[in-house]
Symmetry: C2
Subunit: 502 residues, 2 copies
């Protein structure tokens, strides 16, 4: 397939597309496949996670400028090489920075296919295969959740999936808003745990409720929403004349990885007639594993669920979905405007296949196919083992942290988040306050050094009263016991070095 030596200069788009495809697309496909192969087989952790340079330096290395005339294929090829070099290698075994990591190769191919077919998810007329694939995947996920009359939609990220839930809940309890907007007497409030993702807060901004109407509910020490505190807040808000209508539980909180007790939340929500949504963007992948599903006990009693398949299951970003329970037709009812140029009633197939009007988007990228393809490639058992492997690695790391001197967990491992601190030797006999202050100060420096070396990327953060600690996320299915030791050694070495520098 090769071709296209470095000396050859081809200007694209002069009636030479077949040549461009041979000399550029084929060549790039080869480069990308080698790149993925290297990442997958390089389980030794050789190579850097990131070749960090500052924005000003990077700007000098990238030939960002677009000229009047076409660039040659050689220039484009060199741009892509620079892009690959300075991009973070999120598939590297030592990338622990976000809730996603090693991308799934079959999922990548799925994305390649949809980019070539290039259509939009509004009508069966232009997306026949993908409309059926989306429906199949949504029904399958709904089935795993134990939902009835499943309806849903793929969304542009987890935040948008959560927004769908808020929009449906609003439509159930304040149906006049769609036409008339909020009435003064509505006084709506939503409840969410203090550890929940910020998308509910942003949802309150977008929807015109305001952040004041987003009531944070206290969590227990593990980061799970306290159901008694939820009920107390509901009663308190009602007494003040507010109308609670929506509760967002979390399956796998962003920082601690906590799973809320869904049965306990469902009890409160049933009693007070509140919509119970589950933000499973991160930890929702547990439904794929019979061994881990217990984290989400009670999920069948909830009203809706959001999940990002681009997180623990490795689909390329974006791959998020929203499903709802016993609310078939409500997405259409809440969001539909029936644009006449797109959704004609006199087509060759039943109108229900034109799902675009359920969406708050118009053009909508095909995200279902890559998930379907990689899921089919692994099978249900393979998807379960992916989740089980991540949980087993997290348990292994948590146990190692507990065992190892100077290390301590700041909360028990629940999802595959490992939140811990390392107290350098010179600090161990100091009072807790002093330890905390120093650890808070050195975390950014430790991270900086690891980042500059490109050895690993991992996040630190504060939470409530806790000063900076490490939030390490395990997603990569290739992670092994050896990597556990390597990681703890690395944190220890860099921390000791930074503390000594002071």
């Amino acid at each position: 397939m090769g071709g296209g030596g470095a000396g050859e200069v081809i200007v694209p788009y002069r009636d030479n597309m077949p040549e461009v495809l041979d000399k550029f697309a084929s060549r790039m496909a080869g480069v990308l496949i080698e790149h993925m192969k290297r990442t997958d087989t390089d389980k030794t952790g050789e190579g850097k996670v990131v070749e960090f340079v500052t924005p000003d330096e990077l700007r000098k290395k990238l030939e960002l400028n677009i000229e009047k005339d076409p660039a040659t294929l050689d220039t484009l090829f060199s741009d892509v090489q620079t892009t690959l070099k300075y991009s973070v290698n999120t598939s590297h075994i030592h990338f622990f920075n976000q809730l996603f990591a090693q991308v799934d190769a079959i999922g990548v191919v799925g994305e390649w296919i949809t980019s070539v077919i290039n259509t939009s998810m509004y009508t069966y007329e232009v997306a026949p295969v993908f409309i059926l694939v989306e429906e199949y995947v949504l029904q399958k996920v709904g089935g795993l959740l134990g939902y009835s009359n499943v309806d849903g939609i793929f969304a542009a990220g987890g935040s948008q999936a959560n927004l769908y839930a808020m929009l449906l809940a609003r439509h159930r309890f304040f149906p006049h808003v769609k036409k008339e907007g909020w009435r003064p007497e509505d006084r709506p409030v939503v409840m969410v745990s203090e550890h929940s993702h910020y998308s509910t807060l942003k949802g309150c901004i977008i929807m015109g409720l305001g952040t004041d109407r987003c009531i944070p509910v206290k969590c227990d020490e593990r980061g799970r929403m306290d159901p008694a505190a939820l009920e107390a807040k509901v009663n308190e808000c009602k007494e003040k004349g507010f109308h609670p209508f929506y509760v967002c539980g979390t399956a796998g909180t962003t920082v601690l990885g906590a799973y809320d007790d869904l049965n306990a939340l469902a009890d409160v929500c049933q009693k007070h007639k509140l919509w119970l949504h589950v933000d499973g963007a991160w930890g929702g992948a547990a439904i794929l594993s019979p061994a881990q599903r217990h984290h989400m006990k009670g999920i069948e009693r909830t009203d809706s669920f959001a999940w990002c398949a681009h997180k623990m299951t490795g689909a390329p970003l974006q791959c998020s979905l929203f499903v709802c329970n016993n609310a078939k037709g409500m997405l259409q009812e809440a969001n539909g405007t029936r644009a006449s140029y797109l959704f004609q009633p006199d087509k060759l197939y039943p109108m229900e296949y034109d799902t675009g009007d359920k969406s708050i988007q118009c053009g909508r990228k095909v995200d279902c196919f890559k998930l379907w393809l990689l899921w089919k490639a692994r099978g249900d058992a393979g998807m379960a083992s992916l989740v089980d492997k991540a949980f087993a690695s997290a348990q292994g790391l948590a146990a190692a942290v507990e065992r190892r001197e100077g290390f301590e967990m700041v909360a028990p491992q629940q999802c595959t988040n490992i939140c811990f601190r390392y107290v350098p030797k010179s600090l161990r006999d100091k009072p807790k306050e002093e330890q905390d202050a120093v650890l808070d100060k050195i975390a950014p420096k430790v991270k900086r050094d690891m980042q500059l070396d490109g050895s690993t990327l991992v996040g630190y953060q504060r939470l409530g009263n806790l000063t900076n600690f490490w939030r390490m996320i395990i997603v990569n299915p290739s992670f092994t016991d050896k990597d556990i030791q390597w990681f703890l050694d690395t944190i220890q070495t860099y921390s000791e070095r930074v503390v000594d520098e002071k």
Copy 2:
């Protein structure tokens, strides 16, 4: 690169990823490149636009079911072949159904690259190259518009880009909404032309204004918002105690392709202190061409602009952006919540490079890179010629419609939309009412027949008092005079056949 004969059975994900990449990813890349090559060189229009089958039939052809065990690579390969066969060929020279058509091959490769790098647009830390590329492209577009202190963001489609405008306008005039929600005395209204895209209406639903607060403004016979009618509506709303704050002009309406007179709208908006947004999702591509830019005269006086580069310029879906004029920092102010786990202030680079908090998404797919790559490949001149070619083809088709017996334009050509009807011979001496009634009835049948034959896909629709007419969209840069004749012949032949059937 080939390999992977049909008889070979490989089960993926059993520690054989390099083999899977060779046998599946390489093979699929080859198939996809051949697919694109065929589409690009097959300018004769051979091959079908669509192989239409009903949802029930298609379900039988697709092996949708995911089993417990992994599928073999051969099964996946056959699934992909079925997907390619029954998907609409939106790059076919005779695909005129939507505001997008032939996908750009360099853009596709751009998408392939970002799917392999697989990162998210929130921080420079995880997306260093793409944060700079996004900034470069936004500044470049802002520069073409004549905007100052340009700020902006890539969005998940044109509807979301328009929503950003509404959110910023709200924040400028009702800054308390972010914290407190809508107050009863706010009484906000937005104004939009009766021909505008439904995304403003959906924005009003989402934001809790309600569809009643979306005031349609009368258009002239070409579909342009009537500036006097706009001012009358503004005054009328003010008299009724409402607060108009946002006007959405359109550069290229969805159906007629009309460009609003931006200078006239800006006069009204300046006088009444209203945010003027321009929905250029479709026709905004005119800014790329010195010859077509005049359609958007006055754009430098507007507050914000939305554009979908996946439409006239052929980037793979989704590729939409929002830019604003003299409102630097306002996206952050309006949408930001400063989540502490993501946006730490103590990083290795200035905080302004962590652009994720400006977004209403959290994880955000990289859409800027493919646009940058294809733009660089064509150069500014190549992008201009792409737009000029589409406009020239549209003018050619409009002229042919005017010349040819039985054909008539329902509105003058403005953007590259051609809205016309064909009156079959047997109807030509009938009164207009009867013609209208019959044309309205036969349009779905004519479309059905063309769709079943797979000869072309083109949309029909009603508008105001107009009964069904054809809305033909020219995007494909390969469209020629020969295709004009072919298209008119086809509409004529199928229409005559359907009318005779009656």
